[in-house]
């Protein structure tokens, strides 16, 4: 055994703890041969004796009898212990309750906030739904294939027809309101439901002749007639008829023609 090994067993040796007889004999033999380890063992044994002295000194020490009396009093009154228990645990319960109430409030406020947001979004939709029938009734939608403004404008030789004034705003409410106001005027003027092209001369007549006066006659012509004037025709509806106004001169000659479309039919 060397000093390092002795060091590891010195405390147990000094404390008189159980260890292998062989190890014990080796340690004692080493301490007999090594002065440093002998001193080390002697010091540890003195410390152990000191501990034993303290242990023996304190063995007789006990808690005062008053403690036993107090404990017995507490034992005979279980409610005291119970009260103590409740008193100690009340903060925990209170904390749980506060947590539960806080969670409940959070849920309630969340629900209210979600519903408030939902209503805020739904209100315009309701308003739009209410105005939509008006829009459907009062605002004629132009069919994609027949848009007089655009079709007529495609003819570079013809003067640009006056675009019907439309106010298109992003807000559906604004559109509906404007359309509603416009519809009030439309009720007074039936012609406002119609979109018409400019008069297109028939033949090579002097336009000055229009100043002589004449008469406009409403007729229906085959839709294919539009092609004769360079207006694109929707071939899906080629067999339908379109309205046209014929400007008839004072001499009874047809001077010009314009095509008319009822916006309400779109």
């Amino acid at each position: 055994m060397n000093c390092q090994r002795f060091e590891s067993v010195a405390v147990e040796l000094a404390r008189g703890q159980m260890m292998g007889a062989e190890v014990r004999n080796e340690a004692l033999a080493h301490s007999a041969a090594c002065q440093t380890c002998a001193t080390r063992l002697r010091t540890e044994e003195m410390l152990t004796r000191g501990f034993r002295s303290v242990f023996e000194e304190m063995t007789a020490i006990e808690a005062p009898a008053a403690i036993e009396a107090n404990l017995l009093k507490a034992f005979r009154q279980p409610q005291v212990a119970t009260v103590t228990l409740v008193g100690n645990s009340t903060p925990n319960y209170r904390r749980y309750w506060l947590t539960a109430i806080a969670a409940l409030l959070l849920i309630v406020f969340s629900v209210i906030a979600v519903r408030w947001r939902t209503e805020k979004v739904v209100v315009p939709q309701n308003a739009r739904n209410q105005t939509t029938p008006q829009k459907n009734e009062a605002v004629p939608q132009q069919s994609p294939e027949v848009r007089p403004e655009e079709t007529l404008a495609s003819d570079p030789h013809q003067p640009r027809p006056q675009r019907p004034k439309r106010r298109v705003n992003s807000s559906a409410l604004t559109v509906a309101s404007a359309q509603s106001n416009r519809d009030k005027g439309n009720d007074a003027n039936h012609a406002s439901y119609e979109v018409a092209t400019e008069f297109m001369p028939l033949g090579y007549l002097n336009p000055v002749a229009f100043q002589d006066g004449g008469q406009i006659v409403r007729v229906e012509v085959p839709r294919t007639t539009l092609a004769n004037f360079g207006i694109p025709v929707n071939m899906d509806r080629y067999n339908e008829r379109v309205k046209a106004d014929i400007l008839v001169g004072v001499d009874g000659t047809a001077r010009a023609i314009r095509f008319v479309q009822d916006k309400r039919l779109q």
Binding site: E7, T43, E44, V54, P64, L71, T84
Partner: protein, 205 residues
């Protein structure tokens, strides 16, 4: 039928929890001494030791059902509870003895200005010095010394109370004894013996 005084601690505890006052008295008288001494040796204060002893048995009345005999003896259980109360007091009050952290271990040598009690002082002085030296140890070393040396519990019982491994108890005890030797040794010999105690001087004999 066995007398109540012949009953084991777990049996007394079971009777106590069912409301048997005599069982409580027997258990108290059987175990209160070691708890009181443990608290006293840990704190160095009679008042604190009394409070801890009282609190431990109040806890036993209230929560004694948490004791599990598979995990250890009633004595170890009560000492573990007492340890918790003592540590709680240390944490809360920085109690009646100055506590030193591990960083302060080196201060032991400087504190020691008294003559070596192990050599030539009377037994009473030795006891007093040892107790003071134990009280000056850091908590984790002090509790091991108190349990293993001053309560004379085995490594296994101490490990059970502290909730650590036996090897941990053993190494802490070695370290604690080295610190105590440094504390109790005369200053002039401190350096020599300190190296012998802590750094394991080698002679390769």
């Amino acid at each position: 039928m066995k007398l109540k005084s012949e009953l084991t601690d777990p049996e007394l505890l079971r009777l106590m929890l069912s409301g048997d006052e005599e069982a409580f008295t027997l258990l108290y008288r059987r175990r209160h001494g070691s708890i009181f001494r443990f608290a006293l040796q840990m704190c160095g204060s009679q008042q604190v030791a009394e409070d801890v002893t009282h609190d431990v048995f109040i806890f036993l009345m209230r929560d004694g059902h948490v004791f599990d005999s598979a995990k250890g003896s009633v004595s170890s259980f009560l000492l573990g509870v007492a340890r918790n109360y003592v540590l709680r007091r240390f944490r809360g009050e920085q109690s009646t003895v100055p506590l030193l952290d591990d960083e302060d271990d080196q201060q032991f040598d400087q504190v020691t200005n008294e003559p070596g009690p192990l050599d030539d002082l009377t037994r009473a002085e030795t006891i007093d010095n040892v107790r003071k030296a134990v009280l000056s140890l850091p908590e984790r070393y002090r509790e091991v010394v108190v349990l293993c040396e001053l309560q004379e519990l085995s490594y296994g019982e101490t490990a059970e109370i502290l909730g650590c491994a036996i090897g941990t108890v053993r190494s802490r005890l070695h370290r604690a004894r080295a610190l105590l030797l440094a504390k109790l040794r005369p200053v002039e010999n401190a350096e020599l013996t300190n190296s012998a105690a802590v750094q394991s001087a080698r002679c390769f004999a």
